[in-house]
Each structure stands twice: as C-alpha cells, then as structure tokens.
C-alpha cells in the first residue's frame, strides 16, 4: 500500500483522496424536498413553543417549519433570518440536541425530536441558493459604526445596523471573514466554503465594508475608533489558548487544537495536512471533540481524548461524544496531563495522573499512566486577551477575564458595545449566542444613535 496509514510520527497522506473526500463530507447532508416535507409534517406547531424558548435567537420555529410544510421555503427563510441572519450556519453548527431539539415536545413524546436544525438548513439553503435578499436598507442615517471582528457577533451586529441605514465598517484581523465560522468549525459541519458564502449573503444588504488584516492593538487603537465613529462594537472573540501546565509542553508535536482546526479548514489539500499516528487530545469541550474526530478522519490510528473530570462534566454534548465514539475516538475520564515525554525534541508519550474529587476539589491521586503519542492537542479552553484594548481596559471594564457588558451589550466605556465570546455574560460560547448578542447590541446602538429608535 502506497499510503502511509501506519507511518510513525506526524505525517500527511495517510488516506486515499476518496477517503479524505468521504470523511470530510457533510456531517448532516441536506434534506431533499420530500424529506423536508415529511419532517416538517412532524411538527406539532406548539403554543409558546419550547423549541423557540430554547433558541438563543428565539427563531419562530413552529412558524418556519409550517412554512416549509406548506411549500413556502422562502417565507420560512425570512422567518429564520428575521431573528438570526446567520441562520444558515447555525443550522449546521448549533448543538441542537441541547437547544431546540432537546426542548422539542416530540423528544418528550417519543425520544425523537423534529429535526429542526436540518429543516432550518433546508429553508435557508433555498433562500441563499437563490440569493434571495429579504431586507432593504433604510435611508442613510449618516451614522458610522466600527465593528471589531467579522465573526458571528460582528456580522449579526453589522447586518442589523445596516438595515437601519447606518454605515458599518468591520475591521477583521484575519485574512478571511467569518471568525470561528471560517476558522473554528469542524470541516464536516461547514462544507463547500459555506462560511464565505454566508459572509457575502449577509453583507449583500449593502452599507457594510469589511477591512481584512486589521487587528485591534496592532493596526489601530480602540481610542481611534471611538474618536472616528459614532459607535463601536467589539466582537473579537478569544485570542488566547489555555496552557496545559504540564512539564515539557513546549516540545515539538504539542499544538493548540484551535490552530489545527483552523489550518484544516484552510487546507486546500487534506493529504498535505500532517497528523500523528497516535494522537492525544487534552480537554472535554467541543474543540476537543472537533480536533479528535478530525484527527481520526485524517487517518490517525489511535485518538484518545483525556479529560480531567467525568463524562457528566464534559462540555461537549452527548451527541458530540457519541459522534466521536462512532468515529473511533476513545474518550478517557479522570486524567490530567503531568508531563509530555519527548524523544529527540519530539513528543513520544504523555504522562497523565488519575484524578478524583475531594469534596468539590479535583485532586490528583498520584497514580499515573503513560500513553504513547506522537501528537498532543491542547483543547482546554480559550481565553480573552485584553492587551489589544490598548490600555483602554482602564475604561473597558473586565469581569472574570472578559469584557463586562450590561443586558444590551454596553461596555463600561461610552459609545462602545461588545458581544460574543469576548464578553462575560450568561450566554454560552456558541455561534448562535454570539449572533443573538450582536443583533441585540445592534438594536441597542441603533436606539442610542437615534434617540430611542427615531432617526
């Protein structure tokens, strides 16, 4: 076999081109017309629907499903976009099993919820496929808003402001827009360059300019924006990655999961992307699952997730855990990294210590285990890096390490709003939550700039 399936170390080309293509095809293929009708028929059109309450963007789910069932997919898409202009991506990446579909009364009735996510994708695909734009800009207000970060929060904020006739400039540090939609989502959840298509769809409303390669703190300061614009929205996400705090973690073969996921998403040829034969992932969230599953799909022989607490405490949803298991990833619990073992400067194994709870406190038991590994991924959380706020953090107050905002997304600094992963609020770090935050901040900014909504 010409392929290097069992090659030691970190290597590319482990699989055939067909295998790569199959492994990274759509996780949930789109519903065809008939499937969508059958599935839409299952919706009970609940009163004050629990699914709608469970949706962070409060999409009117029963209504959009009824519109699909009655052969009105464009009307359905508008119902979705009214609340969530990134409804297309959310349909693909939302952990629906812990949101709308968990709340679906059919989950209660028969353990089989209406497939809301896939129906949402069906409707939004129809509209985006026809490039149907539902919103026109209001007359120009002459107000200018700077948005930092072209991720879900920034795009949602920008779109809402553009609808009201404001002029929006998005400053994005990366070469491409979309934020985590472009760089942070597992490849099999967003195929066919969907993130870029969605950016184009959102900005097609007009009045939104995106400047790529513009990083806060490097290319401009927050004070510049506050001076030059009528309002500023910060949606820059989390730039930092938590360290393992394990001995030897600087050696070759130890990498940040988020970097690997981004690299994979940007790779034009998956065979060129090297992956270890034996991969160990440290962490218990969605990122850990994404990197582990994708390592497996790239041809790694053994992939083990090690999480320092139990199954119940994992941030990754049940569905994601099962997905990982189905792809052949082994998930081990109650293990924390202690030492990365290197051989000639390259990782060869990782030594982990068993953990247990002492009351509420997690402690090591002293017992250790060593797993062979030629690649170790750190997926133990990301953190907000406040430095680019350029000393403005004197006035942009932080809370638990992230930007402090009120219910409308206002920071402590006048004219500055924030939302998405970079803020400290009760919302989870989800695409859909970021969209809700951006949208709501957009509304708040509009109210502030127009004396309560009146221009």
């Amino acid at each position: 076999m010409a392929l290097s399936l069992h090659k030691e170390g970190i290597a590319g080309g482990r699989l055939s081109p067909e295998q790569y293509a199959e492994n990274f095809s759509d996780l949930h293929p789109p519903l065809d017309d008939h499937e969508a009708l059958v599935e839409a028929d299952r919706c009970y059109f609940c009163h004050d629907a629990p699914c709608m309450t469970a949706c962070p963007t409060a999409i009117d789910i029963p209504l959009f499903i009824r519109q699909i069932a009655t052969g009105n997919p464009l009307g359905s898409a508008k119902t979705i976009f009214d609340q969530n202009i990134l409804g297309g991506m959310c349909a693909r990446v939302c952990p629906t099993e812990t949101l709308c579909e968990e709340a679906c009364v059919r989950e209660t009735a028969e353990g089989k919820p209406v497939q809301i996510g896939r129906l949402q994708r069906y409707a939004t695909d129809v509209a985006m496929g026809r490039n149907k734009q539902f919103y026109t800009r209001a007359a120009p207000t002459g107000k200018r808003i700077a948005v930092v970060g072209a991720g879900p929060a920034g795009l949602a904020c920008a779109h809402r402001l553009a609808r009201y006739g404001h002029e929006v400039t998005i400053l994005e540090a990366r070469p491409k827009s979309g934020g985590l939609n472009e760089y942070g989502i597992a490849a099999y959840k967003s195929t066919d360059d969907f993130a870029q298509a969605e950016v184009d769809y959102v900005t097609a409303i007009g009045g939104i300019t995106i400047e790529n390669g513009k990083a806060l703190g490097r290319d401009y300061r927050l004070s510049d924006l506050v001076e030059a614009y009528d309002a500023v929205f910060l949606g820059m996400g989390l730039a930092g990655v938590n360290a393992l705090r394990a001995e030897g973690e600087d050696c070759d073969g130890v990498a940040d999961a988020v970097d690997f996921i981004a690299e994979l998403r940007q790779a034009s040829d998956l065979a060129s992307l090297p992956v270890g034969r034996r991969v160990v992932v440290i962490g218990g969230g969605m990122t850990a699952i994404d990197v582990a599953v994708q390592s497996k799909l790239l041809g790694a022989e053994e992939v083990t997730i090690c999480y320092r607490r139990g199954k119940e405490q994992m941030n990754a949803s049940e569905f994601e855990q099962e997905l990982a298991a189905a792809k052949g990833v082994v998930i081990r619990h109650w293990l924390q990294p202690r030492r990365v073992v290197a051989d000639g400067g390259k990782v060869s194994a990782i030594e982990l210590e068993y953990t247990t709870l002492d009351g509420d406190r997690l402690i090591g038991t002293g017992e250790t285990i060593t797993l062979r590994a030629d690649q170790v991924f750190k997926a133990i959380g990301q953190s907000f890096v406040p430095e680019p706020l350029n000393g403005a953090s004197m006035t942009v107050e932080l809370e638990r390490g992230r930007i402090k905002v009120d219910a409308e997304g206002r920071t402590s600094m006048p004219k500055v709003w924030a939302g998405g992963d970079c803020v400290a609020d009760a919302r989870e770090d989800l695409t859909v939550s970021a969209v809700a935050a951006g949208r709501d901040a957009g509304e708040s900014i509009h109210r502030a700039l127009t004396s309560n909504g009146r221009a």
């Binding site: 059958v38 028929d41 009970y44 609940c46 004050d48 629907a49 209660t108």
Partner: protein
C-alpha cells in the same frame, strides 16, 4: 372463532368485504386477482346498454388530497362507467362466477331512464348467473349530464319507477346505489323501498373539486387546462357515509331495509363501524386502489379478532348494534356533564389544547401555573366540548370524564342531576312539553 360469513339479501359470501363497482372491478383479470386475495365479493364495474362503448378522457381521471406524509385521504374521479363492450363484460362475469361460485358477484347497471332500456339489459345480465344487480343511481359526473347516474338518484320518483321495472323484469335481488349529492338521504331510500328494492347501497361519490393548480388556474385533475367536478371518495368521506347509513337504518319508513355500506372503508375498524350502524356488509374501493387487494387480509383478521375479543359470534351480533344509539339532538341528555381531564404523565406540553381553548373556545385550559409551563383544565370554565381531546397529539392524554350525579359542576355551581332531561323538556324551549308527571 367468530363466523364472518355474510348473507346479504340472500347473496352469500365468505366475508362481508366486497369490492365496490369501480375501476378495480372492471374486468375478469382484476376481479380474479381480488378473489385470490380473499375478497368476499365484487360489484362489477357498471355496465351500460348495448352499443358503442362509453369513452373516457385520455388525460388524468383522478385527483386527490393528502394528509401528513402524503397519506391519501380523499380521491376524486371523473371516470365513467365501463368503456368495454357489454358482451365482453357479460361473458367475463359468467366465466368468473362459474369459477368462483362461493364469492358474491353483483352486476352494476346504468342505462337510460326508459323502460325499454332496462327491459333489454336485464335478461342478458341474468343470463350470466351473477348473484344480483346494483342500480347505479349515484355517479355524479359525466353520466349524470346524460340523464343517468345521480340525475336519477336525485329524483325519488325516478328511483321508485326504475326499481319497479327491474323487479318486474328480473328475479335477481335489486340493490339500489344511492347518491349522497342530495339534501336528505331518507327520501331516495324510501323511494327505493317503495319500488320494491331488496337493498340500498351507499354512499356513491360526492361531487367535488379536489384542488386548483395555482400556476395554471385549472381545477385538478386537469384535462388540457380544464377540469370538472368528480366523485369524491376515500377516508375523508367516511363520516358522511356513516351518517347516511344511520339515517336510513333508523328511519321508521326504511327500518329493516338491508344496507350495503360504502364510503371510505379502509380498515376492519371502519367496516365494523358501518356494520354497527346497520350496514349488512361493506363495499371498498379507494383503500384497494391505494394499497392493492392485500388489505382485505387485514380487514378479515381484524374483524375476526375484534369479534372474538368482544364475544360476537356472527355478523348478526354486530349489525345494527349502534343504530338505537343514534338519535336526534333534541333527545340528548342535557343533564349529562363531562369535563376534560389532562393526564399530566402523558402530557408532552405542546400547548395545543391551551391555544385551541384560549383562542377559539372557553378559556378553560392553563398554559402556565406558578411560572411553570403547565396545562390543566379549569373545571369552572370547561363546557366539556371535547376540542382539546381532538387537537391533542397524544392518544388518551386528554379524556372526557363524566361527572357523577350529585357532584358539583363548578361551571354552573349546581350539582349534576341524576335524571335524564332533554331539550324537549327544557325551560328555555318555548315548545317544551312538561316532563311526564
């Protein structure tokens, strides 16, 4: 084991499931397949008079409406009577009857409303040795424009006249198939009886347009951009048929007249309901056209199992058992009080009962109790209308529970009376007769 052998006006069949006169019974090939599948009898597709055969449209003949997952709920057709030569049909009828002597084989007939026409065809049909004839006074499309089918069935005097001719010119049992496209089904039934009919069969199809094509603005089915009303049948018409069967069964003037029940029979349960309301057997068409002839196996086994379970030994134990329970509104017991009750263990909290009651009825179901999503009946508002039961997606989650006599009806503030009292005795009725002292 329950005995489901059927004797309908002397026509015997191994079970009460006949195929109705329709496309499935148009020729020997289909009928033999049906008998092989287990059907107890067939009514052969309607024969017309000697001469150039009928022509049908060459475009679509059927339209439909569907429920969830495209389950066919109602079918509509504009097909006419048989478009094959009379002699071919007669030969095939004779042959099939000879080969299947234990099955019922009835010939449906539709000829112009003149005595000579009936006089001419009846001996030819009798010669086939089929078991009986069914007069097609029902078809609402096409033939009715030519003075036949429902055009006859809508005029009781014509029914009586033609039946009389038939009884005069044949010794075969005469079954009169009635059209539902009429104000009061009892009049044609009475006319059939007066003319000497052995039985009536009903319902034939209902005049209908199933849908309109919103691109072309043509009714469906569309023939070159135009449509016409067709005959509606299938599960959707069953409630209409049940009522008409019951009306005839309980009418003092027609009581005892055998009825062959037709209209949306799809399962054994449907058949049992027709029998209970007074039908002596049932005829099936749409279900067979939707699923094929095999469905009769489910019908036979289902009916037998139900009868065994309930201790009914023969069809006579079942036929007409529900008829005495059909009454006029004015005789319903107004002192019967029922309230909806929601089983909280079964409730999946969809809220449909609440919104139906809140928006369109009596505001008698909660949506939220102490800040928690909770659906519960407010007995002081509940009139017992049953709407919540009907809209609830979970079977037996909401039930109507009668209040025992003596308990307080929280809505009226009065105790439930133990005595029967109906509208004819009600004080609000200006025509009320005093209850018998």
């Amino acid at each position: 084991m329950a005995d489901i052998r059927n004797n309908f006006v002397g026509i015997k069949s191994p079970n009460p499931f006949w195929l109705a006169s329709a496309p499935p019974t148009d020729k020997a090939y289909n009928v033999v397949r049906a008998f092989k599948a287990g059907w107890g009898g067939v009514v052969w597709k309607t024969l017309g008079e000697e001469g150039p055969p009928i022509v049908n449209v060459n475009g679509p003949r059927y339209g439909a409406i569907w429920g969830a997952d495209r389950r066919l709920l109602g079918l509509n057709n504009i097909e006419l009577i048989t478009d094959r030569e009379l002699q071919v049909n007669l030969q095939e009828i004779k042959q099939v009857k000879k080969e299947w002597p234990d099955r019922a084989l009835v010939a449906s007939i539709m000829v112009p409303c003149v005595e000579e026409s009936w006089k001419a065809i009846l001996p030819a049909v009798e010669e086939t040795e089929c078991d009986g004839i069914e007069l097609n006074f029902g078809c609402p499309h096409g033939m009715s424009e030519r003075g036949m089918g429902s055009a006859v069935g809508q005029v009781p005097e014509y029914i009586e006249m033609v039946v009389r001719w038939c009884k005069n010119y044949t010794r075969m049992p005469v079954i009169v198939k009635l059209t539902p496209n009429i104000t009061d089904i009892r009049y044609p039934a009475r006319a059939a009886k007066k003319g000497g009919a052995d039985a009536v069969s009903l319902i034939n199809t209902i005049s209908s347009i199933t849908s309109v094509n919103l691109d072309t603005f043509s009714p469906e089915p569309s023939i070159d951009g135009k449509g016409t009303h067709g005959g509606y049948c299938g599960p959707a018409v069953k409630p209409i048929a049940l009522n008409m069967v019951a009306e005839i069964a309980r009418d003092p003037e027609t009581r005892g007249l055998p009825i062959s029940g037709i209209g949306g029979v799809t399962t054994w349960r449907d058949a049992a309901e027709f029998l209970a309301l007074g039908a002596g057997n049932v005829q099936v068409c749409t279900a067979a056209m939707t699923y094929g002839f095999k469905i009769v196996q489910e019908m036979i086994a289902g009916l037998e199992n139900w009868m065994d379970e309930k201790g009914h030994r023969s069809l006579d134990d079942v036929i007409g058992r529900a008829t005495p329970n059909v009454t006029d509104w004015q005789y319903l017991n107004l002192n019967y009080v029922a309230k909806a009750h929601i089983n909280q263990d079964l409730c999946i909290k969809c809220g449909r009962c609440h919104i139906a009651c809140e928006d369109t009825s009596h505001q008698a179901i909660t949506a939220m109790v102490d800040g928690v999503r909770h659906f519960e009946v407010l007995e002081e508002e509940c009139v017992g209308c049953n709407l919540c039961v009907n809209v609830c997606p979970v079977e037996n989650c909401i039930t109507m529970q009668p209040l025992p006599a003596g308990t307080l009806d929280k809505r009226t503030g009065k105790p439930v009376s133990p005595t029967y009292a109906n509208w004819t005795m009600h004080p609000n009725n200006p025509m009320a007769k005093a209850a018998a002292e």
